[in-house]
Symmetry: D2
Subunit: 337 residues, 4 copies
Amino acid sequence: MGKNIINIALFGLGRIGQMHADNLLNHKNFNLKYIFDKDQKLTKKLSKKYNSIGVQNPKIAFKDKNIKCIFVASSTSTHVKFIKEAAKYKKVIFCEKPLDLNIDKVNKCFKEIKKYKPKIQLGFNRRYDPGHSSIKQELRKGKIGKLEKIIITSRDPAPPSLAYLKVSGGIFKDMMIHDFDLLRFYLEKDDIENIFTTASNISDKKFDKINDYELASCLLKSKKGVQCIITNSRHCSFGYDQRVELFGSKGMLISGNKSENETEIFTKNNTSQKKPLLNFFIDRYVEAYRLQLDELASYTKKNKKPISSFEDGRRALIIANAASASLKQKRQVKIKF
Amino acid sequence: MGKNIINIALFGLGRIGQMHADNLLNHKNFNLKYIFDKDQKLTKKLSKKYNSIGVQNPKIAFKDKNIKCIFVASSTSTHVKFIKEAAKYKKVIFCEKPLDLNIDKVNKCFKEIKKYKPKIQLGFNRRYDPGHSSIKQELRKGKIGKLEKIIITSRDPAPPSLAYLKVSGGIFKDMMIHDFDLLRFYLEKDDIENIFTTASNISDKKFDKINDYELASCLLKSKKGVQCIITNSRHCSFGYDQRVELFGSKGMLISGNKSENETEIFTKNNTSQKKPLLNFFIDRYVEAYRLQLDELASYTKKNKKPISSFEDGRRALIIANAASASLKQKRQVKIKF
Amino acid sequence: MGKNIINIALFGLGRIGQMHADNLLNHKNFNLKYIFDKDQKLTKKLSKKYNSIGVQNPKIAFKDKNIKCIFVASSTSTHVKFIKEAAKYKKVIFCEKPLDLNIDKVNKCFKEIKKYKPKIQLGFNRRYDPGHSSIKQELRKGKIGKLEKIIITSRDPAPPSLAYLKVSGGIFKDMMIHDFDLLRFYLEKDDIENIFTTASNISDKKFDKINDYELASCLLKSKKGVQCIITNSRHCSFGYDQRVELFGSKGMLISGNKSENETEIFTKNNTSQKKPLLNFFIDRYVEAYRLQLDELASYTKKNKKPISSFEDGRRALIIANAASASLKQKRQVKIKF
Amino acid sequence: MGKNIINIALFGLGRIGQMHADNLLNHKNFNLKYIFDKDQKLTKKLSKKYNSIGVQNPKIAFKDKNIKCIFVASSTSTHVKFIKEAAKYKKVIFCEKPLDLNIDKVNKCFKEIKKYKPKIQLGFNRRYDPGHSSIKQELRKGKIGKLEKIIITSRDPAPPSLAYLKVSGGIFKDMMIHDFDLLRFYLEKDDIENIFTTASNISDKKFDKINDYELASCLLKSKKGVQCIITNSRHCSFGYDQRVELFGSKGMLISGNKSENETEIFTKNNTSQKKPLLNFFIDRYVEAYRLQLDELASYTKKNKKPISSFEDGRRALIIANAASASLKQKRQVKIKF
């Protein structure tokens, strides 16, 4: 083990946690020393697979001075707790989105940990996507002049389980929060000023039962007048639809979908038929997840600030709350950060 | 002149009127017998070019029993007047959009002419576009299951003159009215229930002076819950951007932009660079204008109802009014037809 | 009838002749005064439809001093005869491709009519296609540096009737002749130096019986070393496949296929599925045919030389003959113009 | 180190060798135990970087019974020597293309090693590309009916160094050999029957000096009559151009280029401008190289035959020799395997 290797502990071994474990194992800068999950059997099983130490008490990781990073991918309700603890122990923290479903808890956490000058990177994966970040570079270079509109399409191939949906916090805090953050990624020093939301259930009636929505759309405006449109769907027959359009005074930038490969089929009935879209986030954002870890390594070793921060997580949550309020009040809601 | 030729009179010889004159002259079913414009010099000049009779009084056309159709392409404020007169004389009427800027005037007109059972075709050209109507056919065939979202992008290459803008009625009645109507074209028996609007001026400050907007976006919902998004811009550096996206439970349909030709350029700095978009409506909707006249001919000869009616014009205007109200009130406005 | 109208006589009223008749009737510069076909019944029938004079003897057209143009769209074997006669009568001649199937007859014709300084425009429609000619403009502007390769794909949607095939002169003189000419269109002052040909029948065995081919490919080289590839097929399930690729020291230019409209379908099994290609030459090259007539009008009125000449027709035929020779001899054949 | 890990020795540490070393280090099934290069300094340096044993004598690897695989990525002239030795020691062999520049040496080698029943996988990377192999699957499923044409475009972004070119064996054995093999990949039980070749130098005159070519094109025919076209260039301003088109009685399959990301730029002068193509083989065929190693692992552990064999290497070389012969003789050359 070279001196450049960062010892890391991973909390949470669900689907997303296991994906992060794989990425950490394949990343040259990290050594996945500890893993922890409330499911002790799972922790044990995976500790063998990963050749990591499975712990039943996260304290072990916090107290180990060789551990530089804590990677929080556990259930949302535990995020704040782990952040506080990790901050106290001066660890560099990676935390999956959302920070929490309750903004008061987040604000309180922020005040408490301030004194530790905590280093926290948020898991907004889309900021790291080569396509999405490439159009930000072009925007910065002035390729399309002044930014005037941002249009984000985000559709999941299929809804999560009902069990997950019940604790997800709803479409705004669970799904659209990614898009709220992505808007802010492009707006930079500008920020969201107000929001109007609409939502409906047309095909899948299970969402009615849990007071959630399969379809939602938002219209937001920034302080500088940039009009932002987000359109979400919990289902999408043709795959994981992930597009961003930036429109400006001098042009337009599009970050489009990714397909399995670059083939086309022409037959009697079809021309230029392409392969299905990459089906979900693990495949679509595979490079983003790798680049996210590159940044975590730089943050740990060189104190290079990440492009996705605690404050970004807090603000995205505030917008998500405003989205819900707008839906209830049928009016535009002003954002107060 | 065969018995199948329809004698027609054209009122209004501005840019759009002259375009319609050209189309009428090239259409095998029409004989452009009379032309009229309040500018007498222009009428005279064009009467020679078109080999038509230039009249200084529209009455001549109304009273000529050989005239079956009146084509109204004059300034908006004269539409209702000509419709009333033409209805009285039992002519088949083609009227450019919008019917009028004042909904009360339109409603009153409707009541007045009811007794004549008037035949009126509205000039919503986009309904006739082969691409836009092709995706409606696919929707009807069930290709994408239940309709859930309609997303319309409409951007003009450059704003009209300030003189025109001042009398245009504003972006909702002059420009977005096309998109309101296009939504209704896809919704069919469903209809718009409510609307929320946002608007801003970022690059072109002349719009501030006339209380109008260069950029506007709307979020609408239909009675059945279909979410509709319209995004408009009065400028677009890369040409006339005209796209429709229909999203449903089983798929998506896109009607895209048209380019000058199907060539691509690859160089050191560019790959797959395509030709500019067709620059404006006369080129982009050239086939739509032709098909519009085909329908006017069928309406006149076979009494086949047009796909764009007086009532469509009236409802689009009501939505445009609601758009303005929403902008002022910063809330969702309910549509009452 | 204005003084700018050109009186024209059309010889040949088959499929292609009737298409040209329609184009001439719709063109503002031409008056289709006479039509002639060896089928007298057809001539009579169409003379009514077109409101033209149907003649049983072409002499009537030749002797009419008001006739400025002779449009030759009759069967190939009659082209030379009509050209000679029309040249003698000082008419401007438009002749469909190929000039003849026999190069000796063409060469002899050329010598005979030389003294009349004949004005002849050849019917190589592809030279007039906006896409194909757009990439020639980019090439001339130096966009791709020195031209190094030309790759032409040309596939008909379905083979013609066996009756037509028997008298067609075979795939090289009937079909690939268009592509030989298109190569020369891009080579300009350079020209074809040698050719190698291969051909085969795989799916449709009727071609074996008539010593013709459904599939053929050629490799040609210009005097300057430009490598040219042509690939032809008499059938193409997905429509009329018409593509040109120019490759140069600094880039690549592609003139691609044209579809019915710009729509795309996304479903569970298909993404980005486009509409079928425009099905055949009348639709695909509709603009080319119109521009061809524009040029014929300019040639007649302003003596502006056409971009497709008798000599182009002669040279394309020489290359077609060399293609056949190469196929027999299984070797590269040198072209002598 | 688990029991499933395959110990491997890598010979050759040039550009391609180092790429393979990286891939082996990142592959879960391999342990890069030994590395060897004739450059002892380089071997030493890289042995540290890779944490591998750098050997000065390949015998050490051959004699180590724990070594299951020999990976030959050394200079072409040493391939046969290493294959013979590795076969004797019963190692599973991976060998980069081409086997050798001299077909007699290859044939002799084949006879000599026959008795060892050698396991050899050839380094024809394109067979493993997800796009190129996806269209083979569609072809096999009958998606396009009977195969009639194969068209391969292969252009390198820039020529290799003059030093490399001098020992490369020329464009047919060094570059086009990939495409000859790719044709055979699609032809399956059918095979190439004859070939005609053309070549030229237009922009880069250094190729003249070494009797080699920057531009080459081939026309081949299979035993069943499939027409095959290959077009190669040693330079390509817009990147690494790698396309395959399969045309059949019922349709067409295209395996297209890959770009850096899926973004598009629209400005006043450009519409739909895409990112540059992935620049060269290491990026373009990154997945192919990984899948190649997956297969090598399966071959070693489960004796599952690879899709790229010694015989494929031998036949591709025979075609390359025929290509040169055709160029000299200016005629079609028959292939004898």
